[in-house]
Symmetry: C2
């Protein structure tokens, strides 16, 4: 989640044919910090790949270290099984979306949502380096709750062996977002339909401790503050 | 959203090779009502398709009428442009995911999430019948807020012409869900790390009315009750 930016790191990703939208190009952004912030706020991504010529889209956890995304899963799971020893790489599209508000317009046509999304195109590769794999797993846990990785028991050898991690570099990537209010046609403004913005609730409810918690274990600060 | 179930409608979808997961098959369900309820609770789906041999995953609005899903967009948008007059259909995978809670275990390995997802495989087709198209657009608006379609100005001819709608039948479809609490190894239970369930907030914040609302327009009941 840290994404320490080197002085030489460009502030924006370079647009490509795949990352320039055909619709509403004004909603697109290639700003690196914006892309990272949208990615860091998500809990699951939707990972797309091609199997037998057909698309497959699965929700999955992910983590970020700088300009690298990591997805993990069982070594028996389908997309991760498709990389493997020879590892030609797996072409993927990884998408993260936040719905921030419902936009209720007077006209059905102008109903919309405020959202922020990131779409990453690329080729995912197996992570085989043990140090990179451990760092990736820490990033995955810290992605769920920042600061959590160092307050949990790290993976042991057996668990590491059972976990496959793939890496996707942030290179061909774009953000798209809608913000603001209702855009109705001028001739519709006098219609008697309520119109406005309905923000969606965000964040946590009160955490519920496991019944078997070791005596004296308090709710950690990284949960209390969020 | 109504999904009036005919007496002849089976209570479950038939599993296929694509809808039986290789991992955690105990989390899979083919129950029609469960699938519908997960679909109806979502705001956006992630629609996957193949372009130039590579996967593309885009977030988009959708609606449901019985066992049919509808996705709409501009007639200029990419996936919808790929169906069209000849309409051989567009192979898609449509996925909807709700993250309900974060599961913080004592071990990094057993961190998880409670989630409910639906994955639909199929071939999407253009909707050309005007009545079906209008019903689909109503379903899309009612999907955002049930009851909203009849309290908004319906699409006019120009808007209808600018809107493409594609249909995806619910046939090859499965749900997958995790519920419950923390599952740590017995030898980890005494570790001093907090463990438990962190539920995510759901629902709306207070709606914010458009500044140009017609005088006397009240917040509708379908927004107040949610």
């Amino acid at each position: 989640m840290q994404g320490t930016q080197q002085p030489s790191t460009p502030a924006a990703y370079t647009p490509t044919d795949r990352t320039v939208p055909t619709r509403s190009p004004d909603r697109a952004s290639y700003d690196r910090d914006l892309v990272h912030s949208i990615l860091d706020e998500g809990y699951v991504c939707h990972l797309g790949f091609v199997r037998d010529g057909a698309p497959v889209v699965l929700p999955t956890l992910y983590g970020r270290v700088g300009d690298r995304l990591y997805v993990h899963g069982s070594t028996g799971s389908r997309p991760l099984r498709m990389t493997g020893q020879a590892d030609p790489g797996l072409p993927v599209c990884l998408t993260v979306t936040h719905v921030d508000a419902l936009i209720l317009a007077r006209s059905a046509f102008n109903h919309s949502m405020n959202y922020r999304s990131v779409v990453v195109h690329g080729v995912a590769h197996d992570v085989t380096d043990p140090d990179e794999k451990r760092a990736a797993l820490d990033a995955l846990v810290d992605h769920v709750v920042p600061g959590r990785a160092r307050d949990s028991r790290p993976a042991n050898k057996k668990e590491l062996a059972a976990t496959a991690v793939i890496r996707l570099d942030l290179n061909e990537v774009s953000a798209k977002l809608r913000t603001g209010g209702v855009h109705d046609e001028p001739e519709d403004l006098a219609l008697p339909h309520w119109a406005g913005v309905v923000p969606l609730r965000k964040g946590y409810e009160t955490p519920v401790a496991d019944a078997d918690l070791a005596p004296g274990t308090e709710l950690p600060a990284y949960l209390a503050v969020l």
